[in-house]
């Protein structure tokens, strides 16, 4: 099955199930039945089903369907859970403090899921075409190596030319740049102005240098670009990995609160 067919099938199943749930909810409500318990229990089961995806990831040695199948189920069942949540709350924001906090958690979990899905589809192709594809965990070591090389170049420039022009520039503008991740937000949104400015600044030194220094400056400029590419990879790969650190803890907090909410609702009903 190609992606387009799969997407259409998923959307159709989601729409059909959501429509069915809405019709059922409506028909029970017009008969003055209390549907909160039914929608609440169903929602709880659906949320637990969604969390099983993470458990599946921990058991790759068991034949429990492909992770990509689980992912599709997770996406469409996740969307369905939003519909169920709406039916359960009557499409209103709850007023009580506890219920409001629980609803807020649900909104945050859902929003982080949607954002995570969007960046998982949007960022990878941009990562592929910008800079070398490096393994995330290796980036600090590669960054340190780049910095060492640049420092050696700076020392070489002083030794060769007896001039501190490049060394001064390094102290003033590059030491901080090479020492850690820079321009995080710019890299996340894909705005290249800081890189462009730094490169222009470095290249403008050219007129003050002799031939040896110019050669060294050229190599330093290459390293500025390499470091920026590493920062870009770190920022975007970090985002691709990091959103789960929001989505998953929020999910578990929400499940705990939902259990308390369920028990309270059952006791008080």
């Amino acid at each position: 099955m190609n992606f387009t067919t799969r997407r259409r099938l998923g959307c159709f199943l989601f729409a059909a199930t959501a429509g069915l749930a809405w019709v059922l909810d409506f028909s029970l409500r017009v008969r003055l039945r209390r549907v909160e318990l039914l929608t609440g229990l169903t929602l709880m089961v659906v949320i637990l089903l969604l969390t099983l995806f993470n458990a599946r990831k921990k058991l790759p040695f068991l034949p429990l369907l492909r992770a990509s199948t689980w992912m599709q189920i997770h996406i469409y069942v996740g969307l369905f859970s939003c519909v169920l949540f709406g039916l359960h709350t009557g499409w209103r924001i709850p007023r009580g403090a506890f219920e409001f906090a629980l609803a807020l958690l649900f909104y945050l979990v859902s929003a982080s899921g949607v954002v995570g899905l969007a960046i998982s589809r949007w960022l990878p192709s941009r990562l592929t075409v910008q800079g070398e594809n490096v393994i995330f965990e290796r980036i600090p070591a590669l960054r340190a190596a780049v910095r060492r090389e640049v420092e050696e170049m700076v020392v070489e420039s002083v030794a060769k030319s007896q001039s501190s022009t490049i060394a001064d520039f390094y102290e003033a503008r590059l030491r901080n740049y090479f020492s850690r991740q820079r321009f995080l937000v710019y890299h996340l949104v894909g705005y290249g102005k800081p890189r462009h400015e730094l490169l222009s600044e470095a290249q403008s030194l050219d007129r003050y240098l002799n031939a040896d220094e110019r050669g060294i400056l050229g190599r330093i400029v290459e390293k500025i670009q390499a470091k920026d590419d590493l920062d870009l990879q770190a920022a975007r790969q970090g985002l691709l990995k990091g959103w789960l650190f929001v989505h998953i803890p929020l999910t578990y907090s929400m499940i705990l609160m939902a259990l308390v909410h369920g028990i309270l609702g059952w006791k008080l009903s």
Binding site: P60, F61, A67, S125, N133, I135, K241
Partner: protein, 576 residues
């Protein structure tokens, strides 16, 4: 190194003699080996040509074993991957020329874990990397070391074998004859099933022994090579669709006229790294031309082993349009059309050996006299279809830059190449974690590798059609699993020489340091050097899930692809 339990003896080439891998091992006595050396096949060998530490006696004592079969026992099965050849000592063997299909296949895969065994990995996997239990003891009593036992050597019993082979074409091999050399020498599957014609004794030699004897005994080499050509030629022609209408006599006439040609270098991996440094245009010019676009089609070429590139002239260069592997044919459409329509269509493409290629050349005159008149009209190319079949770049499912990349880097060699769609891969490393979980917490591939057209060919063993990593292995530790043809490493017999890792053109084998369960490396008692082992992807052959990496990818970004299936590859690359 304070703990002496970590100091062990480094495994050696002679540690695990071939006979000791049998379930009921029968140690070889010097008298037995001496009798083998008297066989006509070995008689002409001069011991002085062999190195002192690798004499013919040493080789046979280490790489030979005596096998006994009852009449009807299956000795080798068509389709299995073998790593040894046999010499009939007494009795006879019967080669079954026809395909027996699945009747004698279906060996139980006993090495695969069950559900409980799979689940137990959750708590049994060591926390530290590359943990092993290495002992000093070699398998003097192999029954205590089941890892050494060659499960493939356990007899294969099939009920009513005589009924199964009734009506099939067979050839009897009397005492003194050699068989099984095709699979042993060319790293391919057995081409025929062979059964014991009567109660028999066979000398089985593993391929490392064959290789060493061939290296130092020219007469033996000449004999084995001649046999290899004769046997492989007939078996290949028999497997080829366009010859299936021929009777035995005609097929033999075709075989007699067929030339066995080799292009390129069998040990192509030796020059692979240097080749990668040259430009694409230079590379293609260095590849030996098998047949040239625009030339008169003087015959058809059947690829027997290796690979060939199909290219066409494009402005001032050559554009790769496809590649051919074992069993594929070049030039048939042109020859058949010329015969049918009395035209003079030249070859439409150039055929070049990529690395090396063994090809069979069947001349046009033989095809016109023996083959084409017997082919049903439906199997002859129609005029318009012929032009389309010969194709243009419009028909290609794979974009030209991707095709060039795969052919030039020789990724077409893979039967389970790991391809990652970088436009879908979120770099989550779920694939790497799944691999580690199924391999004692040691990932067996790197999510890293060359990228072309948005697709990465990751550093994971491709389980090549032509696994050159196996060529130099002194102990046979790296071998093909007989049932599935996967290239796997026997960790117990690996001596850590790194020959396979150095031979792998794709850098897909890593050398790792073996550690004790408390995390300290093992050291060799004699040299004080750490004990190394070769490690690589085994395609999760012992897992119930199949390849964990592909199953674990939530974004459908990773696939293990058989590169022989160009249509499937093209479909996957163009998914939408």
């Amino acid at each position: 190194m304070s703990d002496s339990s970590q100091i062990v003896k480094r495994p050696q080439r002679w540690d695990v003699p071939f006979w000791s891998e049998l379930e009921n091992p029968e140690p070889l006595t010097p008298g037995v080996v001496d009798r083998w050396l008297e066989l006509p096949i070995f008689r002409g060998m001069e011991a002085s040509r062999f190195p002192l530490n690798n004499s013919p006696r040493d080789i046979l004592a280490n790489d030979g074993r005596l096998r006994r079969f009852k009449a009807g026992d299956i000795i080798v099965r068509q389709g299995d991957y073998g790593h040894s050849a046999f010499i009939v000592l007494s009795g006879s063997a019967q080669v079954i020329l026809d395909n027996l299909g699945d009747l004698v296949r279906g060996r139980e895969d006993s090495s695969r874990k069950g559900w409980l065994g799979a689940l137990a990995q959750l708590w049994r996997n060591p926390k530290l990397p590359e943990v092993r239990n290495l002992g000093d003891r070699r398998p003097e009593r192999p029954e205590e070391h089941t890892d050494f036992i060659d499960k493939d050597a356990a007899g294969i019993f099939v009920q009513d074998i005589n009924v199964i082979i009734k009506g099939k074409r067979t050839v009897d091999l009397p005492a003194g004859e050699l068989f099984g050399e095709i699979a042993a020498l060319s790293r391919t599957a057995r081409t025929s099933t062979v059964i014991a014609g009567s109660d028999s004794e066979m000398l089985e030699i593993r391929w490392q022994g064959l290789r060493d004897i061939r290296l130092h005994a020219p007469e033996f080499k000449e004999y084995v090579d001649r046999l290899y050509r004769d046997h492989s030629l007939l078996s290949h022609l028999r497997e080829t669709a366009m010859f299936r209408h021929l009777d035995d006599a005609t097929l033999k006439r075709v075989a007699a006229a067929t030339e066995f040609l080799t292009f390129g270098n069998f040990e192509w991996y030796a020059t692979y790294s240097k080749m990668r440094e040259t430009s694409g245009a230079e590379r293609i010019q260095k590849e030996p031309v098998i047949a040239q676009e625009g030339h008169y089609p003087n015959g058809v070429y059947l690829v027997r082993s290796g690979f060939a590139r199909l290219s066409e002239t494009y402005n001032n260069g050559e554009r790769t349009v496809s590649y051919l592997g074992r069993g594929q044919i070049y030039g048939f459409a042109e020859v058949a059309m010329n015969w049918k329509d009395k035209t003079e269509l030249p070859f439409q493409r150039t055929l070049r050996a990529v690395g090396y290629a063994d090809v069979l050349f069947v001349p046009t005159s033989v095809l016109e006299a023996e083959v084409l008149p017997r082919l049903p009209t439906a199997e002859l190319p129609r005029k318009r279809l012929a032009a389309a079949g010969l194709g243009g770049v419009r028909d290609m499912k794979i974009r030209p830059e991707m095709m060039e990349f795969m052919v030039e880097r020789r990724f077409i060699n893979g039967t389970a190449t790991m391809i990652i769609d970088m436009d879908r891969c979120t770099r989550c490393d779920d694939c790497v974690r799944a691999c580690a979980s199924t391999h004692n917490n040691n990932p067996r591939f790197l999510r890293h590798g060359p990228i072309a057209d948005g697709f990465m060919i990751a550093n994971a063993c491709m389980h090549c059609q032509d696994p050159v990593c196996m060529i130099g292995c002194p102990t046979g530790a790296i071998h093909r699993d007989s049932a599935h043809g996967l290239v796997v490493i026997n960790d117990r017999t690996c001596i850590g020489c790194a020959t396979c890792a150095n031979s792998c053109p794709y850098d897909n084998i890593q050398m790792v340091t073996a550690r004790s369960p408390d995390g300290r490396p093992f050291y060799d008692r004699a040299t004080n050097q750490p004990i190394q082992k070769a490690a690589k992807c085994d395609l999760c052959s012992n897992q119930i899930t199949g390849p964990a990496c592909a199953n674990a990818c939530p974004h459908d970004a990773l696939v293990r692809m058989d590169m022989r299936d160009v249509d499937h590859l093209g479909s996957w690359l163009n998914r939408q």
